[in-house]
Amino acid sequence: MARVCASLTFPPALRFKIQCHSHSSFVIFRVNSLYSQIYGYRGKEQSVTGSVRAFESSSAKPMSWCDGVLEPRVLVAPDPGTDRNGLGQMILLRHPKSGNATQYLFVNGILLELQWFKNLYGSWFLGDYITEDGRLYLSTPIDPVFIMLPIFKEARMKKGDDLGRFRQLDEILFVDGYPGYMQLMSIVENCMQVVSEIIEVGSSKFFRLDDSKVLRWLCYKVCQLKQTLPKLDKNYAVQSEKDTLIDAVSILGEYLKEEPWLQLLCNHLKLNILEVTGKAQANAEGNNNSRLCNELQEQSNDKKGTTAKKGRQAKKVKLETESHNIKDMFSRASRKKS
């Protein structure tokens, strides 16, 4: 048995060594130059004596946990606990902001969204198993109200000043091409009470989305985020309250269509007040907004703080530049006069 295993694993090991030898210089070079450029950090280089030999395959070990592993994925997810089974369904729903088809996870009556994170160069050591793709999947709960807002908004068929129609859940959740919505029936009835008006006729319930309730719910979400962000790390902690509010709203905006919900929220919070104070600032604000809008399409939540910071920095720099220009103009004017 040992000989057979050894002979079977020899070619992969040899190929592995060749790959290491041929790729190591390239990878090391790129990593060094990349890190130097990005971080501007040049740590102390210690001389390392000896060398590390290439790895050998250990598939000869009997009954290893990684036997038969296919396309492994590294996932961090809420702990299902020992009392409940962790069996979940992947369901296809429309993303609440973009409307694109997106996979969600439905485990133990909880709806989860999936995101992944990957460094430019990275791989995994998983015990005695190597995975080339260094991607980390993060699965976090998502409030089903976000998912349901676009569906309920369409379902009420509002026209003009009319408040719209009351409708039953099985009618609302019937979305063409997306049968997954029906699987959420059990949780939707409970979670949509907070943003809907409900009429009970006999044993039937009819729902209609209520804009004022949605706004109140959004403001509650902003409050929760405003309390959480300063505790993340020192960079968030030193932010001004206004910047924290803007960060909170931009994170919330990842799950809201701009029209009507994000606009409704910004109007309520008076976040566009800069446009009223002056044309120069309005122009800067306009540029900032357009850039943020473009970047919102490409980046996800965890990057949002950085994006917002970039936008604000650009705005500040621009304002300073304009201020400098104004000073120059005054200087020239005074020289002309004298």
Partner: protein
């Protein structure tokens, strides 16, 4: 080849976090009729899940535990993170172990296709679980500005953002912004 600097540059606290070298995308796994089984009875890999700062062109078993031997080096220079050192291909790596936040577990999933089932249906089974991740940097010590460290901030933000709101909570809160 690059020159070495003598000392560390002191960064003011208000400096925004450095630009990321990673990116985050939505999970478009292109799966139809997929099920996923998150269970805790697989192999426990806690303490042995390592994120390397380089690409290893290999998918499969390897004698990691024979050659990759991290050593604890007390507390690092930055923010008091526990420092570990290891070597890979003769290069010094500096790392730290991040425990997963409360309420979360790590899962190593493997795709399995039941032979009797439809080709469009897949399932993901848990092969192993873990409670911490050790990530490694090449030639700089771990800090709270590292990508993986900050990726876990999203777990905290997601809890605040997506905790369901009850009508009682909404009614009792004075929403004054």
């Amino acid at each position: 080849m690059f020159t070495k600097l003598g000392g560390l540059s002191l960064e003011p606290k208000s400096v925004p976090p450095p630009k990321r070298t990673g990116w985050i995308g939505r999970g478009n796994c292109h799966m139809e009729k997929a099920t996923i089984d998150l269970k805790r009875d697989g192999k426990d890999l806690s303490g042995r899940v390592h994120q390397l700062p380089c690409c290893v062109k290999h998918d499969g078993p390897a004698s990691v535990s024979h050659y990759f031997k991290p050593k604890h080096k007390g507390v690092g220079e930055d923010e008091g993170l526990p420092l570990q050192e290891a070597h890979f291909r003769g290069r010094l790596l500096q790392g730290t172990t991040l425990p997963l936040p409360h309420g979360y577990s790590g899962f190593v999933l493997s795709k399995s296709s039941p032979p009797t089932s439809d080709e469009n249906s897949h399932s993901w089974d848990t092969k192993a679980t873990f409670q911490d991740i050790t990530y490694w940097n090449h030639d700089y010590s771990p800090s709270q500005n590292d990508e993986l460290f900050r990726a876990f901030h999203w777990l905290t933000v997601a809890k605040a953002l997506h905790n369901p709101v009850t009508p009682e909570e909404l009614a009792s809160s004075s929403v004054t912004l």
